[in-house]
Amino acid sequence: MNRLVFAVPFALAVLVLAFGYWGLSNGRDPSSIPSALISQPVPDFALEPIEGVDTPGLSTADLKGQGLTLVNVFASWCGPCRAEHPILTRIGREQDLRIVAINYKDQPAAAADWLEELGNPYALIGSDLSGRTGIEWGVTGVPETFIVSNDGIVLHRFPGPVVGDGQRRFQKALDAAKAAQ
């Protein structure tokens, strides 16, 4: 009986500590927001092309029946977007993936210059001047990259730049998505 009195709080303390450890390890980011869109069809939206850029705009219909597609949310004013741009470009080229983009709250001229300078790996780009489409996608900030299946289902949301460890985690999600196709 006496032993139990000590064992119960001890066991509880171990449980709480183990939960804390689990919560903070494995690259789990306590501040990252789980996406509500996973396994859901892509939201309804239709975006015009960026003014002054030849790439056509992006809408919901463009994400169905087109194979596995990456949807990159970027802006020319966003530093990490610049960092991940060559990596995404390479992933698209080497893994033969279709990449489309949502240009989030950007000045059309600045976005055009940015694409001119860094290259344009995107098949389609929608210009989301108001940020409303970003909210439909549950975007919290740029950059964000979504993996969308051939059926237009959101398979993965990757917040933050696809660089370094992020690139490794993104590739893991991408491999899982490819295997599921």
Binding site: V5, L12, A36, K105, G134
Partner: protein, 151 residues
């Protein structure tokens, strides 16, 4: 006196809000509801702040969307549902009561209850030990002392 004035100033200062004048609705009733809702919605950028007091761009967009939806005739619940569909339960400061949140809502009370239980058990164990540990001689001495004290 000056200190008193300072304290009064601090006490009377309006609470910090980020709602900008151009966002405010003409209808005071709807505006009041919008404020109530946005106090309950977590900003997805600066996560410990409600969108009502956040200066983040997304927070402003969400405040505007809440007002648009209220003007369009949505109930408060419909507005919350709209936000949850896009950002998940995470945006609610007040998590809903459902199987996945039972542990969250009940956990503290269960732990508190276990704590009480442990305290009660510990106290019982102690008092039991005390009475059991008196030998007949000790008991006799105690009686004698008590009698002496009483007289």
């Amino acid at each position: 006196m000056r200190r008193l004035a300072l304290i009064l100033c601090l006490l009377l200062a309006t609470p910090l809000v980020a709602v900008e004048p151009d966002e405010v609705l003409d209808d005071p009733v709807l505006e009041e509801r919008a404020r109530e809702i946005s106090a309950e919605v977590r900003c997805v950028v600066c996560q410990n702040e409600p969108i009502d007091s956040s200066n983040a761009g997304v927070a402003r967009d969400l405040r505007l969307i809440i007002r648009e939806r209220l003007v369009a005739g949505d109930t408060n619940q419909e507005v919350f549902d709209y936000l949850v569909a896009r950002y998940g339960d995470f945006v609610l400061f007040n998590p809903p009561w459902r199987p996945s949140t039972y542990a969250l809502w009940l956990g503290p009370f269960i732990i508190l209850g276990l704590g009480f239980l442990a305290v009660i058990m510990a106290l019982r164990g102690k008092s039991g030990q005390l009475t059991a540990s008196l030998t007949p001689e000790e008991q006799a001495r105690l009686e004698a002392l008590r009698e002496k004290d009483g007289s």
